[in-house]
Amino acid sequence: MPLRVLHLEDDPRDAQLVYAVLSSDEIDCEISVVETRDGFLKGLNGPLDLILADDNLPQFDGLSAFALAGELRPDVPFVFLSGTIGEEAAVDRLKAGATDVVVKGRMDRLPFVARRALAEAREKMERRKAEEEVLRLNADLEQRVAERTAALVKSERRLQVARLEAERANRAKSQFLSRMSHDLRTPLNAILGFAQLLELDTLSEDGRESVGQIMRGGGHLLELINEVLDITRIEAGHLSLSLESVNTVEAVNHAVDLVRPLAAQRGIEIEVGQPPSPDLQIHADRSRFAQILLNLLSNAVKYNRQNGRVTVWFEPVPEARLRVKVTDTGAGIPAGKLALLFNPFERLGAEQSDVEGTGLGLALARRLAEAMGGSVGVVSQVDRGSTFWIELALGDGVAATVEAPRTAPAHNYHETNGVVLYVEDNLSNVRLMERVLMHRPGVRLVHAPKGEDGLRLARDEHPGLIFLDLHLPDMSGEEVLRQLWEDPQIRNIPVAVLSADATPGHMRRLLASGAVEYLTKPLNITRVMNLLDERLHRSEGL
């Protein structure tokens, strides 16, 4: 491509000379010669590689041309050609940005200047191209950043939706749990209460069997509810544990005693192995440890064969820990199914075998053990049996011994007389209590549906015993207890509190604030009658 030159020159000879010099140096060029401002302006608008300008013209001048070119075509190299120019003036022009200054007497420099100008122009063009490329890449990058940001915003939104969804599911779950524990427990308490009363009546053998089925069904329902609530408490970190040194052998013997009747029904023998020491202690929550042992032992009986055997072992393990192992002689569990055992709800919805089980027991046992810093595990051999174990840290203190359960003194119930006040808003519970008291004809029941009524009736009737429900419509049971305690007239009346949600801490607080007994719902009818005999017999004797 030829070099396109705009040449500002009034002397055609000079113009010819320029062309000749450039051509002689084999520079292929197209020169457009102008001598006026208009011509120069026009030339600036065309395609252009180099500007040559004479310094002195009759109608225009090189400096003005330089200014114009700087404004309109700053990209094109500008070379002054001058017949006479002083060194100072030349330096000024170069400083102002001219590409070069060539004296007409030294035209031999022109090809060199032209080539250099051209090279510079190309370089400039390449730089511009590179800059454009950078700009393009930048724009591209910005676009990609924008796209990525949009994607992030989108996934942030998706996360938010998921979070909202999880919150909604959680709300549904807690709603489910609160309905389950409150709404469902009320009818369940009635079922279990009245079924206990039926057990006391003399029925035919078939009748007793049917009542037994009702009791088992209700008991299983209650167990399910409690287990679900426990698992939920553990998952939410709300389970309160009181860890202490527990006498392991005592706890095991106690649990074995509870399971023995069930084992005897199926001809199963339970054997407790020799402990490394009789006062072997374990670091645990006493009631939760007992719950786990009971679960492992009753499973070992339920899933055993007829006339089988259950063995309990004590095995010290490294790092000051102890395993209590329960081995059965049942059918064993295939390896593939072992992990499923500890999944909650594993047995729910499955085809029921003739062996009852909630499917939550082992899952709860494992979580409870973990909450106490321990673990629960299993090894099994098909057709030989399974060994379940609980592992916990050894206790370091002196193990407190378990209080022997209080046995009620034997009373003749005819000697049980007096007034009982029942503060309770749920009528089905009141009917149950009325029905319980039919077994104690000397006792008159007074009922208060609210705390305020209860306090009034306590003053008016001065009962020998008060049963106080903790959930009342007008005030809490704790508040009733406090007001009773503040009134010297009635502060000596024994109060037994009743509640469906008994935590050990809650029980301790209430007993500390003056309650004589804490009864959990569903009511244990025998315990209620023992309490009546004990308290009302005594009050009559005073």
Partner: protein
Amino acid sequence: MVERQPQDLLIHEFNNLLTIIVGFTDLLLDDALPGGQVSADLKEIRAAAARALELLPQLGERKPPIS
């Protein structure tokens, strides 16, 4: 098969157990002296189980609680 939620399984189990309770209560009611104490107790059990059965569908509802 659609995977069932644990709470659906629980409700299913509750339903089974309550049905057993209702079944044996009805069996006993058939043999009980009408108007007698045993019959009255059985009716209490029957009514409570029916209340619990009525609650079950609400238990599984997936709506957020009404505030």
